[in-house]
């Protein structure tokens, strides 16, 4: 698609290519600086920006599955909850016995553990993806999400239906955007390599990809595992941001929200997806005055998007350029 902004995107892409790692460091540094001054911010705005960061992680990681690899997951909220509950439980158990200066380490451990637990779940969901496609796959991932939710709802150790509360507030702007930067880097760096072209090839034509020596199974499972890993981390950040977790926070609607971010941004278009995550996080806040109509408008947005621009609103694109990022 040609737009007037094409030269700008090209410029961004060309600046980015030499030394991708440098941009990762810049991103993390910016997040830390912002975090340092976050005391100055209005608490409400700060909270919404943290939501933004978490949603960016969710959307970019789902984009690896739904966008780059062409699978269709409607269960991202399930992965998120696995990470969230794991990390929250860890903090609830250990935070009283850990000195305050070690709390970031505890959070870090929670993020990793949550991510890993979620990655295991991602592997379990990824395996059926080998046999199913399209709407059937969507239904199965939706089913997995629901199963995970029902399990949490019935597990006393995580508070069953009333969930977990009193989770320490460890999440900061620095953590959310730091992790967001890492997520973006990982997905972009992965896809922008010869190895990563395999994801796109599988997405474009699985039969042809297989005939070119690409093992579609491996790529699909990798996408699910990595996507779930970051969703789990997002869930962990979410738990230490909201401080309470209930199973209903991770229902089907939450998965839909993330899918809409990916679609609005354009499947497989990292830049657009980031922008969409920010817009869709802020939109409900802006529309608070129209609370009664907010969700109706949201539903109409989905329908209108599918009819008018199924390829996504934004043509922002950092990838699919010829060269690698070397």
């Amino acid at each position: 698609m040609k737009t007037g902004l094409d030269p700008i995107y090209k410029a961004i892409a060309s600046v980015r290519l030499p030394g991708a790692k440098r941009w990762l460091l810049v991103g993390i540094a910016l997040a830390l600086v912002a975090s340092y001054f976050s005391g100055q911010f209005n608490r409400y705005y700060l909270g919404v920006w943290m939501d933004c960061g978490i949603n960016i992680i969710l959307a970019v990681s789902l984009n690896l599955i739904n966008g780059h690899t062409g699978q269709f997951s409607l269960g991202h909220a399930g992965f998120m909850s696995v990470g969230g509950y794991t990390a929250a439980k860890l903090s609830l158990v250990y935070s009283p016995s850990v000195p305050p200066e070690w709390h970031p380490v505890l959070l870090c451990a929670g993020l990793l553990l949550g991510g890993l637990a979620s990655a295991v779940a991602g592997f379990l969901v990824g395996v059926p993806s080998l046999r199913l496609r399209g709407d059937y796959l969507a239904i199965v991932t939706l089913g997995f999400g629901e199963i995970i939710r029902v399990i949490f709802q019935n597990t006393e150790a995580v508070g069953a239906a009333s969930g977990l509360s009193g989770i320490p507030k460890y999440t900061t702007l620095g953590w959310t955007f730091g992790v967001a930067a890492i997520t973006i880097y990982v997905v972009a760096a992965l896809v922008n390599s010869t190895y990563g072209r395999g994801f796109l090839a599988v997405s474009d034509d699985e039969v042809a990809a297989s005939s070119m020596g690409i093992n579609p199974t491996r790529y699909k499972v990798t996408a699910f595992v990595l996507g779930a890993f970051f969703a789990g981390i997002a869930g962990a950040l979410y738990a230490h941001h909201k401080q309470t977790l209930t199973p209903t926070q991770f229902d089907f609607m939450k998965s839909i929200d993330i899918v809409v971010m990916v679609i609005l941004g354009g499947m497989g278009r990292t830049g657009g997806v980031i922008l969409a995550a920010i817009i869709l996080t802020w939109m409900p806040e802006m529309l608070r005055g129209f609370a009664d109509y907010r969700m109706i408008m949201y539903a109409l947005l989905i329908i209108a998007l599918m009819m008018l621009r199924p390829q996504g609103l934004f043509a922002l694109n950092f990838k699919r350029k010829g060269g690698g990022a070397a």
Binding site: Y136, I296, L301, M307
Partner: protein, 303 residues
Amino acid sequence: MDSFFQQLINGLALGSIYGLIALGYTMVYGVLRFINFAHSDVLMLGAYAAFFLAPKVQQIVPLPGLAGALIVMLLAALICAAAGMLIEFLAYRPLRSRPKLTVLITAIGVSLFIEFTCQHKAVFGAANRAFPKLIDFPNFTFLGLTFTSLNVIIVLVTAALLAGMWFIVQRTRTGAAMRAVSFNQQAAALMGINISRIITFTFGLGSALAAVAGVLYALGAPAIEPLMGTQPGLRAFIAAVVGGIGNLPGAVLGGILLGLLETFAGGIPGLSTYRDAIAFAILILILLFKPAGLLGKATVEKV
């Protein structure tokens, strides 16, 4: 032992409702190859239509009463048929040649739209409403088992409608056209079949079934509310896939299996709260090992 048969009867009735809803899913899927997520909301609309119609009908025909109940149900079915056709016309027809996932997401959007609109205070409001009593259903005892007449009615209505649908699809000209469209839209068009009209008709029929199911479901439920369709809708959808989506008897079979499962799991302490998870687990297993469902026919992908 008695309680076993009692559970069996309850499960059969619940499963019949699921089967009835599943019939609608399956017919639309059979013809159009896509999952109409808004089907469960049409069911809710059917219940609300009956809710608002009942007082009006009561002025002419006495309620509770069989005749009155039938009239209410019929009117609700007509309203929902119109609603279903309207949804198809506005939301799905423009997307007919688009990828399946686009249509799937649109269907989710339509479902959310109906749910949120109906929850709005200017429409139905989110609160529960007591559903009017359309018929008296006394319990009666037969062979030492207690039957609620509602359960019997549900099973009979489902059986009758399954037979009716089967007749339409297998024995009528329109049914033949539906099968033709389902098999190959292009070939059907070359027979002179107006594909759009057949699809609209299918949506109308499926939505009418959803309305009947909605009224029956509401009769047994304590109250109605705008999200009442979600749970039975989801189970019915699972039932349709388990039975082999696109297959009419399969839908009812799947529904009954799910209904029985739910009732029996409900009777086992500790398991009842897991029944959604169990239903989905069954769905996933079926899809993995018998992707075409219990009664469905496998199709081969061509290269």
